[in-house]
């Protein structure tokens, strides 16, 4: 007589120490092996797209900050570029340089959080605190310039809200010099640690065709070996003037496209961001950052889709304008929302502890997923 067995349904509920926000994952497990993962979203839905229809174009910028709150400058950047394309205005050179430097600083800060929480989920609690101490340096540099540490409202349509602080260049250069040995220390402490490698190598292997079919982007895609970066393949702003490499996952410690590769891509991307900052920081031209900001933004009728490379992937804004001062429709293509779909494919056949490692390596932010 055969025993009737059924799979156990375990709920990693909305409140859990290591889902990055309020995400509910329903796992169907058999002992410790996972059969199916179903994410349930919507716990952080704040009707951003509906709010944007009631605001004027420049009032939407504080709302875009709150989408991916760990990388807020990227959100502002994308929206400003989209509306500028709709209006057809050019911004001064100084504005372009400062925007790029701020975006790269923000990329480093966002990757620090991603790597830190990835380590903390796996159990290494110390690198998390070291990386947050480094993030403090970046946040105080930006705080001196625009006044806020996390939700900046800095990149406006047509320019910037403030010119950079007189100390900005000196402090950024100090930070670049401070940060290089820190990456080496992080490598020694976490990346090449045998236990960390055991936990992340050969786990959650994302094959190339699955990645492209699901539409993932950012380090999730580059970890599988594809060299696709919007700053190189669809250049915006002045990224085509700088010389930087695009790190991809090579399967150094396991297979190509596993969690270690995605983690490795993030660390190398931080180094490349430092390279871009060093190339740009000495050549900021003079100018007025607020000269091109229009008094009243009333774009002609039309639609525009503009995409930027956020630290988590491709962030796209689709704006429909009907000729009035309020946008008719603002749709956000959030990278974390699209990357989260891959979770169901990646988790089949792994253990419960691996689900957490995989979720940490995809690096989602619930503010983007739910908008």
């Amino acid at each position: 007589m055969a025993l009737k067995t059924e799979h156990m349904v375990l709920n990693m509920g909305p409140q859990h120490p290591s889902t990055h926000g309020v995400l509910r994952l329903e796992l169907e497990i058999e002992g410790e092996l996972v059969n199916k993962v179903t994410p349930h979203l919507g716990y952080l839905h704040r009707c951003f797209e509906k709010h944007a229809e009631a605001m004027q174009y420049n009032q939407v910028v504080p709302y875009t900050d709150r989408l991916d709150y760990l990388a807020a400058i990227g959100n502002n950047f994308g929206y400003a570029l989209a509306v500028e394309k709709l209006l057809g205005i050019e911004v001064p050179e100084r504005v372009e340089y400062i925007r790029v430097i701020m975006a790269e600083l923000q990329r480093i800060a966002s990757h620090l959080v991603a790597i830190g929480s990835n380590g903390a989920d796996i159990g290494a609690l110390t690198p998390f605190l070291y990386l947050f101490r480094d993030r403090e340096h970046i946040l105080s540099i930006i705080e001196e310039t625009c006044g806020a540490r996390m939700l900046y409202n800095y990149i406006w349509v047509g320019g910037l809200s403030h010119d950079i602080h007189p100390d900005f260049v000196r402090k950024t250069k100090e930070f670049c010099n401070y940060f290089k040995p820190t990456i080496v220390e992080l490598d020694n402490l976490l990346s090449y640690n045998k236990i960390f490698i055991e936990r992340t190598a050969n786990i959650g292997v994302l094959p190339v065709d699955t990645a492209i079919n699901f539409g993932s982007s950012g380090p999730t895609l580059r970890g599988s070996g594809i060299k696709f970066d919007l700053r190189r393949d669809d250049p915006y702003s002045i990224y085509d003037r700088f010389d930087f490499e695009i790190p991809v996952g090579k399967g150094l410690m396991g297979t190509v496209g596993d969690c270690w590769d995605r983690y490795y891509v993030r660390i190398r991307e931080m180094e490349q961001s430092l390279r871009i900052i060093e190339q740009a920081i000495d050549h900021i031209p003079e100018g007025d950052v607020q000269s091109a900001i229009p008094k009243r933004i009333k774009p002609p009728k039309g639609t525009v889709y503009k995409r930027v490379e956020n630290p988590r992937g491709e962030l796209g804004y689709f704006i429909v304008s009907d000729g009035t001062v309020n946008p008719f429709r603002v749709k956000v293509r959030a990278p974390s929302f699209v990357n989260l779909e891959v979770l169901g494919e990646l988790c089949k056949g792994y253990l419960v502890a691996d689900v957490i490692a995989i979720l940490g390596s995809i690096d989602i932010v619930l503010g983007e997923v739910d908008r």
């Binding site: 120490p17 410790e32 159990g123 110390t126 070291y130 640690n193 236990i195």
Partner: protein, 355 residues
């Protein structure tokens, strides 16, 4: 020591009670200082400050935590199995506390001078497994059940390398009594077992690398026995909220914590007795050089506590450096790596000791 108190009072039960109070006081003090030191050491490693507001340098933090736990409401879930639920903390605490009966704190402060002390310690520590399984099952919570299953597998598997290394020491010294093993490594640190034992000769120097290997293996296995990182899967904070004691609150949770710190000290005491000379000092006795005979047991107690605390500090240091192992990797580490190395170690030590 039991004999001394029996002569004093003439009553077996009173003497037993007095003798049992000493390790209890030690466990309480270890838990008190251990919780505080864990938070402070973790803070120093992470470039923070740690508790520093309750009392000078935050010294009363554990007292504050204890008072908080005493006044908590004992909220229990509805569908628990109450008999098992209530017995589980008692069993876990007994398992770790009963091991202190055979551990010598100094040449006069020994609970019971049993001839089979080492065997007794290893056997009674396995009571903890029963308690953990009961706690996990009776909580009526899937997370607790997962944690308890993992913990039971972990503790049972890691008893084996521990036993094998203990066996190799027993082969060398020829006795199972903890007191006699300590006495064989009399004063001066070059007589310690990790440096090859007290007898001077070619065997001493041949033994040193294998003793070091044995020490590393037993240190790792006892880390796993106590559920400390990198083996703290049963209480993995980021995966299972709190593992097998998720549903406990108030004093019952405090019993689990007490037993964890008590176990930590017991296990580091065993390691220090087997390899590092037990309660003997590394540099000779002050009492001997000054001619004060009664000072020696106190000095020995001091050195014993110092060695125990040194290993606890190393355990804390490891906790804040390493990530956590996954359950199947933990099992493969034990069965595929530690046990073969321990067996080979045993055979080679046996061969060398015959020379």
């Amino acid at each position: 020591m039991y004999q001394y108190f029996y002569d004093l009072t003439g009553n077996t039960i009173l003497a037993t009670l007095i003798v049992a109070v000493f390790p209890l006081v030690n466990v309480l003090i270890v838990a008190l200082i251990g919780v505080y030191l864990e938070r402070k050491v973790s803070a120093w490693i992470q470039d923070r400050v740690g508790p520093n507001r309750t009392g000078p340098f935050g010294l009363f933090q554990t007292v504050a935590d204890f008072v908080k736990m005493l006044q908590k409401e004992d909220a229990t879930a509805k569908d628990i199995d109450s008999k098992l639920y209530n017995i589980a903390p008692v069993l876990v605490f007994t398992g770790s506390f009963a091991a202190y009966a055979a551990i010598p704190f100094s040449s006069k402060l020994i609970g019971s001078e049993a001839e089979v002390g080492l065997f007794y310690v290893i056997a009674i520590s396995s009571l903890v497994v029963g308690g953990i399984l009961m706690a996990g099952w009776s909580s009526n919570n899937k997370y607790s059940l997962l944690g308890a299953m993992r913990s039971a597998a972990q503790i049972i598997s890691y008893e084996i390398p521990t036993a094998i290394i203990v066996l190799s020491i027993v082969m060398l010294t020829g006795t199972l009594s903890l007191d006699k093993i300590s006495n064989m490594q009399t004063a001066y640190f070059w007589n310690w077992n990790i440096f090859g034992g007290a007898e001077f000769g070619i065997t001493k120097f041949l033994l040193i690398p294998f003793m070091v290997v044995g020490f590393i293996i037993i240190f790792i296995s006892t880390l796993a026995e106590v559920n400390r990182t990198p083996f703290d899967i049963p209480e993995a904070e980021s995966e299972l909220v709190a593992g097998y004691f998720t549903e406990y609150c108030g004093m019952k949770w405090a019993m689990f914590m007490l037993s964890e710190y008590g176990n930590m000290f017991a296990v580091s005491a065993i390691v220090s007795i087997l390899f590092f000379g037990g309660y003997h000092s590394p540099i000779g006795y002050l009492g001997n050089s000054l001619g004060i005979e009664w000072l020696i047991p106190f000095e020995q107690a001091f050195w014993f506590l110092a060695k125990g605390w040194l290993f606890i500090l190393i355990q804390m240091w490891l906790r804040w450096t390493l990530p956590r192992l996954r359950v199947d990797q933990l099992m493969s580490l034990c069965w595929k790596y530690l046990i073969p190395y321990a067996f080979v170690n045993l055979i080679i030590i046996g061969v060398i000791s015959l020379l």
